[in-house]
Each structure stands twice: as structure tokens, then as C-alpha cells.
């Protein structure tokens, strides 16, 4: 840059000089001198022509002056001299050519002048004799006696005059003969005016002699190529002038082009400079904002950029590093010793990641080498804490391993066998993992046919009841019950598989323990009573709330309770709730005990394993999938709690679920699945934003002011917990206890991330989210929805009026349909959108049976087409999510873009398990209303009723 500056200045100066030079060259045509020169040429031609006229005049006029002739020639000569001064603009070569031509014409003019001199002399003599001879002969004839001489003289005169007029050379011999004759006569005579006759003869001779000479000279003069020469000269000049003009125009063109070039390059340069500066500023801002250390290297391995972090590590000023050789500047163990990695990155043109230990500072660094077209970008970050953690983990793992090994060796006493067993275990784990993946993916495929089976059995069961085919009824009920059992089994397996494959997600929410107990009790009581058991509930009066995945807690409790009930006949099933205070907070204990068959200690050991019951015979006697306990244990583990069992054969069993009263976010548990879950959740909110840079891992961000998180939650416990958790990891946390405050804080501080609870009083999370997304200043902020939504509530969040999980329960569907029938006038209509033919037919039949007009479409695209065609919009849309062409998500989006259609209530019917990212993707389009779900179908129906009614109100308000 510094060395280029003088070059640029020199180039600019040179360019301007060239421009000036071109301009000067283009201005060389002096039009005045051109016109003067052309006038001279014109005058010269005129002089030459006039000279010729004067020659003729002198030749044939009796008395004449040579002055005009002399003057013309003098002036011609003078002009010729003046023409010698060739206009400068013709250039050296043009002038030379013109001068050569000029010399030729000058020579001709000089020649003409010389010949003219001879002409004048001869002509004067001729004229003198011609004037005098007739006079003299006339006088001689008058004076004489008319003798022979006079006669001869007379004839002589006639012939001479004839000769002068006719230019007939044949007369010359005759005239000479006459002259001789006269002389002969004169010699014969003597005395008298002989001298006069002699003189006459002299004149005749002069005429004879000079006349052809003068004629010759005249002809020569007129034939001289002066006129041609001058004309050619003029033409040449015109050519040269034109050439010079063209040349000048060329230079003018050149100057114009150069000027354009000059201006363009100036403008371009300025533009480039501005762009470069902007880019530099941007780049440096960007680079400075990168928390990783960064060094830019060009293809000559010279450092082109160093950010502050990198300079700090190298203990040098960033400026002093720029331009240095990378290999000499960078520590050997990080640079030249790992040279092949760097070269590999360049050679492969692909990103290379490597971890290197920087012994000088006792640090582990992770390098990312990004090759570019003109060099390499080297990023690195300190991963020492991670490495240490890894090492510690490895060490503790080792310790555990060793402890295990000791125990193992005690039993097996063979190191090789242990290794073998270990390998087998790993293998089995891998197999288990792949099985889990498989099962999780099977959810849709398994549930879909079951949906049809159960649904149709219900339909047939209904029909059988109506038509009184009692004999069929029992068989059909068996089919349905088997289907439901199979569904339970599949659900169990899927849950387990999800847990094992790390795909199970936690949705923490806060509920009152009392209401939870109520729900659970209400659900299990009919079952307990069926077995003739007594249900005993023990709980303190004011035990407060539980912050956990309530659905899972409920499922666990129901599992334990139904187990207890299953193995107890005419006994007691007890559910006891208690609270204990521990150093890390309050814990809640759910104790489920029964007075049933109990278990032996060896059975207890594997009671929580999947597909295991206390006894192989148990399944046969008591039914069940054998998955319940396994699932429960997994759920409780996920929530950071534990589940214990104590039993005595024949006397009963007691299970105890212990949970923290406030279950922490999954991130706090060392479960890799939770890590992934969180990352997915954040990325799902705004996939465009590289969250990792914005909000780095806590262990690397301890020195920074950190990223700012706004937490909006109405629950004080949650707020405190989250704040503590987040602060301890280097985040700055702002809290708001309601949506309005949250929005204010968001506007004031523009946080990096907002964590938003959905269920809040006054203004709920959805309303907050809508406002956040509507504000341009805030819309970019990723929002993590801190909700405890079950899949079921996703439907509402999509903008659906209802949600029915598959396999749907017929009575639930009927209830919904009934509600919409009430809301619509005349015959209600519904649109069924499902890709499965059976499901479509089932729904259509069900709807028609209830007096609905049903239409159906096999995917979103066709459904939209149907909506376009139809005159009367359906009152309800029953929508499957997973479809070809256009799936349910896209369909909802498309629907919401049309004002008329967006008011149509949608019932989502899906067999699909949605990931959080899918959910988040949909949430952005949603103006949803949301409430907690419940597995209690009746309560769900009631809630749905309320939701739909409020939706009706809001949509009717909108349409007005």
C-alpha cells in the first residue's frame, strides 16, 4: 500500500500528461494558416493561368506591354516562396512530401520565367520586323518603278505574311527563294535605295528565323506543366491537410477516450477505494467480533490480517504481524510442525480441523483452517477447559471402569474374558441403538394401520349395535381391544425406543401437585375398583407446584398404579405424596404401594429392564407389555429423579418416584441427547443465525460480557432457577414476569436470545411472540419457547381449531363434529385431507353418518384446488400432516394466506411424532391459542369447546 501510492500518483500524472498531449495534438490544425495556404495555392493557379494568357497576348497583340506577364510571373515566384512555408500541422512527413512537390512546381515556374525571357526578346524582334516589313516594302514599291525587285518584294511580303499567319513551313523555301531572287536582282543593279531592300530582306530573314522560334517558345511555355504541377500541389496539400485533420481528429478522439478513461478510472478507483474501505471496515469489525482468534494468510504465506485475540496469544501488536511470514511468526508447534495440515487444507480446498497443544502456554487449541481462493483463514479457540473436562471424564470413567473391573475380576477372574464381554456389550449397545432408531422411525408406519383397524372396528361395533347383530359385537370388540392393546404396546416400545435413541424430549411445565394427584386418581380409580382394590391417597395439604414434564410424570404414576392394581386383587393400592428438603432444593416423592403378590429379590434386579416382568409367567397371567417400568425409569431418570423399588414376595411391592420439585432443563444433565435437543431447539427458531457464534458454549465465554438473554416467565421459581443456571454459565440474564414487561425489556436491550414461556396470565406467550415478530427491530431475535406442550397442543399452535391424536377416539371426533354442527347453519360440510385412502374413507363415512357433507383430497395441493373450485367453503377441515406433494404444514401456510380460508377451523389428525424443529417452524406462522392438554378425554373435549368458541369469536370479529 505504501509502496503503491507513489506509483499510483505517477500513473495518474502520466495519464493527465498523456491527455494534455493528446489535446495539444488534436488542436494543431490552425484553420487560419490552412485557409491562407489554400488561398495562396488558388492565387498561384490564377497567376499561372494569367501568365499564359499574357504570353498569348504578347505574342499576337500588335502593341503590348510585358508588364502584366512579368508581374504574374513575379508574383508566382513570390507565392512559390511563401508556399515553401508549409503549415506546421501537416507534420514532418506531410511537409516533406509537400516540399518535394513544391520544388517540382518551383522548378517549372523558374523554367517558365527563363523561357519567358527568351520569348520576350525573340517576340520583340519578330514583332518589330513584322511591323516594319510591310511598311518598308510598301514604301519601296511606291518609290520604285514597279520593276522586278518591287514585284518580287511584293510577292515576298505576301508569302511572309501568309507564313506568319498560317505557320505553313512549306512557305519557308519559297520565301528563301524570293529572298535569293531579290538579292540577285540587287547585285545586278547598283545605286538607288539598295540599302532599304537589304533591310527588308534582313527583316524577312528575321521573321523567317524568329517566327518558328517564337511559336516554339510560346508552345513550350503553354505546354509547361506548371498548371498541372500547381494543381497536383494543391491536391497533395488537400490530401495532406485531410490527413492532418483526420490525425487531429484521431488525437481528439484519443483525448476524449483518454478523458473518459481518466474519469472512469478515477470514479472507479474512488468507488473501489470506498468499497475496499467499507469492506475493510466490515471485515475488521467482523474479525474483531469473532471471539475465536483469527489470522488471515495469503497465498505467499504472509499474514494479511490478525485479530486482537490472535495478537494477544502471540503477544504482539496486530499491525506488527501483518506482512510477516506465517511460518516464522507463528509458534512452531502450532505452525510449521503441523505444516502438512495447512498444506492439506490448501491442496484439498476443504476445511481442516485439528487440535494442537500449545505447550508454551499450556493450552489446547482447536484450529479450523478455511482455505480461500487467495490464501487461508486460520481460526482457533481455546479448548483447554473442554479438554480438561474430557480428561477428567476419561479419568473418572477409568476409575469407574476400574471399579467395575475389580468387581468383574472378582466374578470372572479373567482379564481377557472381561475385555471380550466389554466388546460384546458395546456391540449389543450398538445393536440396541440401531434398533431404537428403527423403532422410532416406525412410529408412523405402525400407527397408521392401527388407526384404520381400531377406527373401523369402532364403526362396525356401532353398526352392529344399531342393527342388533349382537353375535358379531363380541368379536368386533375383541378385535378393537386387541388393536388397542397393540397400540399400547407400540406406544410403549416407541417411548422406550425414543428414550434409548435419545429422541425423547422433555417439556417442563409447572402444575399444582394437587391437581396432578386429582387427575391421576380420577383416571386410575375405575381400574382399581374393577379389581376390587381400595385406592388410598396420602398427601400433605399444601404441597405446592411441581415443575417437571407433567405428562411423563403422569404416565409414570399411571404405570406404577396400574401395575400395582394389576398384581393386586381385593387389596389396597396406595399413592402417597411427600416432600423432603435437600441441599439442592425440594424433592417430591411419589410412593405407590400395593398389597399384591410381591417379588423375589432376584426378580427385583431386572424389574426395570425392558420386556421383563417379574416372571415369564406374569405376562400370561396378568397381561401387560413389560415396558411400563422400563419407560417410567427412563422418564424419571431424564428428569433427574430416581425410581426405587422394594418388595417382599407375597406381601406387596412399593415403588417410589423421587423428583426434584423443580426439574432443571435437560442441558444440566450429562445426556448427549439433551445437548442435541437444545441446539436443535435454538436452531429451529431461526435457522439462519449461527447460534454458536452468537451464544457460544459457556466454557469458552467466561471472559466476555456474554450474550444477553431475556427470560419471560410468570413463574418466579422458574425465573430464579433459570437466572441462576444461565448466569453461572456466563450469560447475562434479564427477567420479566409477564409478556408486557418482556416486550419493553426486549425493546430497550435488544437481547440476543429470548426464552419465552407460553402459558402466562394477561398476555400469553403467543401474543408476545406475535408482537416480537411484528417489530422489525426485534424480529431477528431467536425465541426459545419454554413450553410444556405435548404433541397434542401442536395442532393448536399450527392454527388448528382442534387436535386429535391418532389413533383417534371416535367419541372425541363425534364430540367435535357435534360442536361444529351447532356452529354452522344448514347442512355442515367438511373437507378431509389425508393421503391414506382408508383413513379418508373412514372419516368420510363417519362424517356422512353424522349428517355432514364430506369431501376429500389426498394431499394439500388437491385440497387447495378443491377449495378454489367450491362455492361454499367447508365448515371444517380434517387434516393429516404427513402427505406427499404438499404436506399439512404447507397446506396450513397456504390456507392462512387466503383471508377467506384462514377462518376455516382445522382439525389436525396425525400419526406423526413431530420434532421440535418442525414445531418451531410452524409456530412462526401461528396466531394460535394454546392451553394445556390432558389425557383426560372428557376434559380435553371441554377445553376444545372453549378454544373453539374463543376462536370463533376472534375470527368472526376479524371477518366483520
Amino acid at each position: 500500500m505504501m509502496t503503491r501510492k507513489p506509483i499510483i500518483i505517477a500513473a495518474a500524472a502520466g495519464a493527465i500528461l498523456v491527455f494534455l498531449g493528446l489535446t495539444a495534438k488534436s488542436r494543431t490544425i490552425d484553420i487560419e494558416s490552412h485557409l491562407a495556404y489554400r488561398d495562396q495555392l488558388t492565387a498561384q493557379l490564377q497567376h499561372d493561368l494569367r501568365a499564359n494568357q499574357n504570353i498569348l497576348n504578347s505574342r499576337y497583340a500588335l502593341y503590348s506591354s510585358y508588364d502584366p506577364l512579368v508581374k504574374e510571373l513575379e508574383q508566382a515566384q513570390m507565392i512559390q516562396m511563401e508556399l515553401g512555408v508549409v503549415p506546421e500541422f501537416l507534420g514532418r512527413k506531410g511537409s516533406q512530401r509537400l516540399s518535394e512537390k513544391l520544388e517540382l512546381s518551383s522548378r517549372e515556374i523558374t523554367n517558365k520565367i527563363e523561357i519567358t525571357e527568351e520569348f520576350k526578346s525573340q517576340n520583340s524582334l519578330l514583332k518589330n520586323s513584322l511591323a516594319y516589313l510591310p511598311t518598308l516594302i510598301e514604301k519601296l514599291q511606291q518609290n520604285g518603278q514597279g520593276g522586278q525587285v518591287e514585284q518580287l518584294l511584293g510577292e515576298l511580303l505576301d508569302q511572309v505574311l501568309l507564313y506568319t499567319l498560317s505557320a505553313d513551313e512549306s512557305l519557308v523555301p519559297q520565301i528563301n527563294l524570293k529572298i535569293d531572287a531579290v538579292q540577285a536582282v540587287i547585285e545586278g543593279e547598283s545605286g538607288g535605295p539598295i540599302s532599304d531592300i537589304d533591310i527588308a530582306l534582313e527583316h524577312a530573314k528575321i521573321i523567317l528565323q524568329n517566327k518558328p522560334q517564337v511559336d516554339q517558345l510560346t508552345q513550350t511555355l503553354l505546354d509547361l506543366p506548371t498548371t498541372t504541377e500547381i494543381r497536383e500541389l494543391a491536391q497533395l496539400y488537400e490530401q495532406e491537410y485531410q490527413a492532418a485533420v483526420n490525425r487531429a481528429r484521431l488525437f481528439q478522439l484519443g483525448a476524449s477516450v483518454w478523458l473518459i478513461l481518466l474519469l472512469s478510472s478515477a470514479a472507479y478507483g474512488a468507488l473501489m477505494l470506498m468499497q475496499q474501505r467499507r469492506a475493510e471496515r466490515k471485515t475488521s469489525e467482523l474479525f474483531e467480533s469473532i471471539t475465536d482468534a483469527f489470522i488471515g494468510v495469503n497465498d505467499q504465506w504472509e499474514i494479511t490480517y490478525v485479530n486482537a485475540q490472535a495478537a494477544q496469544m502471540l503477544n504482539q501488536q496486530p499491525q506488527s504481524l501483518v506482512g510477516q511470514s506465517f511460518w516464522t511468526t507463528f509458534p512452531e508447534e502450532l505452525g510449521s510442525q503441523a505444516k502438512h495440515h495447512y498444506e492439506e487444507a490448501i491442496a484439498q480446498q476443504s476445511m481442516v480441523t485439528l487440535e494442537l497443544e500449545y505447550l508454551a502456554q499450556g493450552r489446547w487449541l482447536e484450529f479450523h483452517l478455511y482455505p480461500g481462493s487467495d490464501g487461508l483463514s486460520v481460526f482457533w479457540q481455546d479448548i483447554t477447559p473442554r479438554k480438561q473436562a474430557q480428561n477428567q471424564l476419561a479419568a473418572s470413567l477409568n476409575a469407574t471402569q476400574q471399579a467395575k473391573e475389580v468387581a468383574e475380576s472378582e466374578r470372572m477372574n479373567a482379564e481377557t474374558e472381561r475385555a471380550k464381554a466389554e466388546a460384546e456389550r458395546t456391540k449389543a449397545e450398538e445393536a440396541s441403538k440401531s434398533k431404537s432408531d428403527f423403532l422410532a422411525n416406525m412410529s408412523h408406519e405402525l400407527r397408521t394401520p392401527l388407526n384404520t383397524i381400531i377406527g373401523y372396528s369402532e364403526v362396525i361395533e356401532e353398526e352392529a349395535k344399531e342393527t342388533g347383530q349382537e353375535d358379531l359385537l363380541e368379536d368386533i370388540q375383541t378385535v378393537r381391544q386387541s388393536g388397542e392393546h397393540l397400540l399400547g404396546l407400540i406406544n410403549g416400545i416407541l417411548d422406550l425406543a425414543k428414550v434409548e435413541s435419545g429422541k425423547m424430549e422433555l417439556f417442563l411445565e409447572t402444575v399444582s401437585l394437587q391437581s396432578l394427584m386429582k387427575e391421576v386418581t380420577a383416571t386410575i380409580r375405575p381400574l382399581v375398583e374393577e379389581n376390587g382394590n381400595a385406592l388410598v391417597i396420602k398427601q400433605p395439604e399444601d404441597i405446592g407446584n411441581l415443575h417437571a414434564d407433567i405428562v411423563k410424570v403422569r404416565q409414570c404414576l399411571l404405570n406404577l398404579l396400574s401395575n400395582a392394581n394389576k398384581f393386586t386383587k381385593n387389596g389396597t393400592v396406595t399413592l402417597a405424596l411427600s416432600q423432603t428438603e435437600q441441599p439442592d432444593g425440594n424433592w417430591i416423592h411419589f410412593e405407590v404401594s400395593d398389597s399384591g403378590i410381591g417379588m423375589a429379590p432376584e426378580q427385583l434386579e431386572k424389574i426395570f429392564d425392558a420386556f421383563t416382568q417379574a416372571d415369564n409367567s406374569t405376562t400370561r397371567n396378568y397381561g401387560g407389555t413389560g415396558l411400563g417400568l422400563s419407560i417410567s425409569k427412563n422418564f424419571v431418570d431424564m428428569m433427574g429423579g430416581n425410581i426405587t423399588v422394594s418388595s417382599e414376595l407375597g406381601k406387596g411391592t412399593t415403588f417410589c418416584i423421587c423428583l426434584p420439585q423443580t426439574v432443571l432443563e435437560p442441558a444440566q444433565f450429562p445426556q448427549p441427547t439433551q445437548e442435541g435437543l437444545k441446539a436443535e431447539a435454538v436452531a429451529g427458531v431461526n435457522a439462519d443465525r449461527p447460534v454458536k457464534q452468537e451464544c457460544p458454549q459457556p466454557n469458552t465465554s467466561s471472559e466476555r460480557t456474554g450474550c444477553l438473554i431475556l427470560l419471560i416467565d410468570d413463574d418466579a421459581n422458574v425465573r430464579q432457577l433459570m437466572q441462576r443456571t444461565l448466569s453461572s454459565r456466563g450469560y447475562q440474564v434479564l427477567v420479566a414476569d409477564n409478556g408486557l414487561t418482556g416486550l419493553e425489556l426486549a425493546e430497550q436491550h435488544i437481547p440476543d436470545i429470548i426464552i419465552l414461556d407460553v402459558v402466562m396470565p394477561k398476555m400469553n406467550g403467543w401474543q408476545v411472540l406475535v408482537q416480537l415478530k411484528a417489530d422489525p427491530a426485534l424480529s431477528h431475535i431467536p425465541v426459545i419457547l419454554q413450553t410444556m406442550l405435548d404433541d397434542g397442543r401442536l395442532g393448536y399452535s399450527l392454527g388448528a381449531a382442534e387436535y386429535l391424536p391418532k389413533p383417534m377416539k371416535k367419541d372425541v371426533l363425534l364430540g367435535i363434529l357435534e360442536k361444529y354442527r351447532l356452529n354452522s347453519q344448514g347442512s355442515p360440510s367438511a373437507l378431509v385431507v389425508d393421503d391414506t385412502l382408508e383413513a379418508r374413507m373412514l372419516l368420510e363415512r363417519t362424517l356422512e353418518k353424522q349428517g355432514w357433507n364430506a369431501q376429500s383430497a389426498s394431499n394439500g395441493q388437491l385440497a387447495l384446488a378443491k377449495l378454489k373450485q367450491t362455492d361454499s367453503l367447508p365448515n371444517l377441515i380434517l387434516l393429516d400432516l404427513m402427505m406427499p406433494e404438499m404436506d399439512g404444514f404447507e397446506f396450513i401456510q397456504a390456507l392462512h394466506q387466503n383471508e377467506d380460508w384462514s377462518a376455516i377451523p382445522i382439525v389436525v389428525i396425525t400419526a406423526q411424532d413431530l420434532t421440535i424443529s418442525e414445531r418451531q417452524r410452524l409456530e412462526q406462522t401461528v396466531l394460535g391459542i394454546h392451553q394445556k392438554g390432558s389425557i383426560d378425554q372428557q376434559r380435553l373435549l371441554k377445553e376444545l369447546q372453549e378454544i373453539v368458541n374463543s376462536a370463533e369469536v376472534s375470527s368472526s370479529t376479524l371477518t366483520q
Binding site: 493557379l45 494569367r50 494568357q53 497583340a61 503590348s64 527568351e118 520583340s124 518589330n128 494543391a234 490464501g375
Partner: protein, 348 residues
């Protein structure tokens, strides 16, 4: 970086080339249009011939009444003309042989400068009308003529460096030259001043010129007859024009051999031959102007003839080939008298 710059440069160049192309096309279009419009004016000139063909016009024309000259140059030239520093011995000026009071000549047969000369000094009056200078016409212009007498050993016997040195010594000349010529005293400026003065020595408004201008009564009948005889005898075939001569060369001795008749032929008698080396120019001399001829005796290049009558007679004999008639000669001389006039500047 370099690759990117190269790319940027390429982009720039290509952009510039496209711009240049457009500009070039525009300029070329305008050039071709303008050249289509401009026609060669010269081509039409040959047709323009407007010379007057008057066969019957008089062969002698009057001297212009007024010739525009720079009066400063004339007066400077007059002083230089009379300045004897032009001669090696500081004794001879131009005016020594071309007496301004004696009609521009010296009235002696052969002039005397620093030494005795070989030829009769022609008059300086009306010398501006002469086609060439000197009897043999060896100088094309009056300026060129100055070199002759100045460097001639027997005339002024000097040189330009010498003369200029002397002139520059004079502060008056210095300032006078400076006032007229930017370059001051130089050979060219000196010549220009002298020649300009010489051109101012024209003698208009002679009685014959007044006659030519329409005043027919100004001439006596004899004088008019003389003019007719001048023409009839063929004198006018050489002595014509404004100068009544001075615009051509003619051989001395067309009828008969003047020089052998005279005898004692010198190199000077070869005349124009000395200049051109052409055989036809042997014994040829510039036809002298007959203006003020009565005042410029003795006559001919050799100053051999004392009277005008004698000179006319010789001319009639050797040049015109006619028998001599005393009456005619007298009348011709009377006509020649009407050609006398005073120098224009001195009249006013």
C-alpha cells in the same frame, strides 16, 4: 489477492474497452459526415479565369501616383543610402554614383567608386519597376543588388560584417532600427530599409503619364507624333510597360554588329551571357527604362553615347533595322522628354 486484482483489472479493462468502442464509433461517424460535407474548393478554381484581353491597349502604362511604403523605412533607407560607411574607405555611399539630385545616376560614362568602374551607372529612379537589377540582371531584387556594389572592390570595397559593425556603432541607427525592426541592425534589415527607400524613388505624373490618363492636351503635336513614331519604329516592342523598358532583356546589335563597330570589346559587353552562360544571351542586356531618360546621359551600358539623339539613332540602326530619319529621331526625343518627372516623395 493478486488473482482478484487481476480479475478486477480485466473487468475494468473490458468495461473501458466497451466505453471506448462506443465513443470511437460516435467520433468516426461524425468525422465521416463532416468530410462528406466539405468539398474541395480548389477543384473549381481553374475555371475562374477573368484576365482582361485587351489587344488594343497602349503598350506603355503610367506609373502609379501613390505606392504605399513604410515611411520610417524610407527615411532610414535614405540615410543609409547616403551613408559612406558602406564603403571600405568610408568615402563612397550609394548616392556617390546614384546622385539623388542627378536623377539617380552620376552623369559620367563609367562610374567611379573607390576606384574607376567599368559600366555606366543606371539610374536608381524607378528601379523598383525593373524586372531585375544591373545591366546583366544578375540581381533579382533591389535587396540583392546591394551586395554587388558594396562588396565590389572598385565600387565600395566593403563587407557586411564591416558595414554592420560601423552601423551598430551609431546609437542613432541602433534606436532607429530598433523602432522598425525587432531584430535591430542586421544585413536583412539594412537591405530592407535601403530597398524600400529605392522603391520610393518612383517618378509618377510625367506629362506623358498625364496624357495616358486622358489629358490629351498636355502633349504637343510633335510629342504625340514622337510617340507614334516610337511605336511605329518598333521601339515600343522592347520599351514598354510602366517603366518604358526595364522588364526584359534584348540582344544589343540585332541588325549589324554594334560591338565590332564600336570596337574594344570587354567581358562586360557579353552582358546577360555572363549570368546565364546561354549563347542566346550573348550581348544581351536588360532593356533600360526610358523614364527620365533625358536626364540620365551618357547612355548605354558602356556610357559611350553622350546625347539622346545619338542613342536613338544607334537604337534605330542596330536594334530596329531601319533607315535613320532625322525628323523622326527629333520627334522621338521630344516624346522621350515627356517621360520626365520628379520623384514622388519630393513632389509632395
Amino acid at each position: 489477492m493478486t488473482k482478484k486484482r487481476l480479475m478486477a483489472l480485466k473487468l475494468t479493462v473490458s468495461r473501458f474497452l466497451s466505453i471506448s468502442f462506443v465513443v470511437a464509433v460516435c467520433c468516426l461517424l461524425s468525422t465521416s459526415f463532416s468530410s462528406l460535407l466539405s468539398t474541395s474548393a480548389l477543384a473549381e478554381l481553374s475555371a475562374d479565369q477573368d484576365a482582361k484581353f485587351s489587344l488594343l491597349s497602349e503598350p506603355i502604362q503610367p506609373i502609379p501616383l501613390k505606392i504605399e511604403l513604410d515611411s520610417r523605412k524610407v527615411s532610414l533607407g535614405k540615410r543609409l543610402f547616403q551613408d559612406k560607411r558602406f564603403s571600405g574607405n568610408n568615402q563612397v555611399s550609394c548616392a556617390s554614383c546614384h546622385h539623388l539630385s542627378l536623377s539617380g545616376a552620376d552623369q559620367i560614362p563609367k562610374s567611379v567608386g573607390t576606384e574607376k568602374g567599368f559600366l555606366n551607372a543606371p539610374t536608381v529612379l524607378n528601379s523598383g519597376f525593373n524586372i531585375k537589377q544591373f545591366w546583366d540582371g544578375r540581381a533579382d531584387t533591389l535587396e540583392e543588388q546591394i551586395d554587388g556594389p558594396m562588396t565590389s572592390s572598385h565600387e565600395m570595397n566593403s563587407s557586411w560584417p564591416e558595414v554592420l559593425e560601423k552601423l551598430k556603432a551609431s546609437s542613432i541607427y541602433e534606436s532607429e532600427f530598433k523602432a522598425i525592426y525587432a531584430e535591430g541592425i542586421t544585413e536583412a534589415s539594412t537591405k530592407d530599409a535601403i530597398a524600400t527607400f529605392e522603391r520610393s524613388l518612383y517618378t509618377p505624373n510625367s506629362r506623358f503619364d498625364q496624357y495616358l490618363r486622358g489629358n490629351e492636351d498636355i502633349l504637343t503635336s510633335n510629342e504625340k507624333e514622337g510617340y507614334q513614331l516610337f511605336k511605329a519604329n518598333g521601339c515600343v516592342s522592347c520599351h514598354q510597360g510602366v517603366g518604358v523598358g526595364g522588364n526584359m532583356f534584348q540582344k544589343f546589335g540585332v541588325f549589324g554588329d554594334y560591338f565590332s563597330d564600336r570596337g574594344n570589346i570587354t567581358e562586360r559587353d557579353l552582358g546577360r551571357y555572363n549570368v546565364t552562360q546561354k549563347e542566346s544571351d550573348r550581348y544581351a542586356f536588360k532593356v533600360p527604362s526610358l523614364r527620365n531618360v533625358v536626364l540620365t546621359a551618357p547612355y548605354f551600358h558602356d556610357g559611350s553615347v553622350e546625347t539622346l539623339n545619338e542613342a536613338v539613332k544607334i537604337m534605330i540602326k542596330y536594334q530596329l533595322g531601319r533607315p535613320e530619319k532625322k525628323e523622326d529621331v527629333d520627334k522621338i526625343v521630344q516624346f522621350l522628354n515627356t517621360l520626365t518627372a520628379e520623384v514622388a516623395g519630393e513632389q509632395s
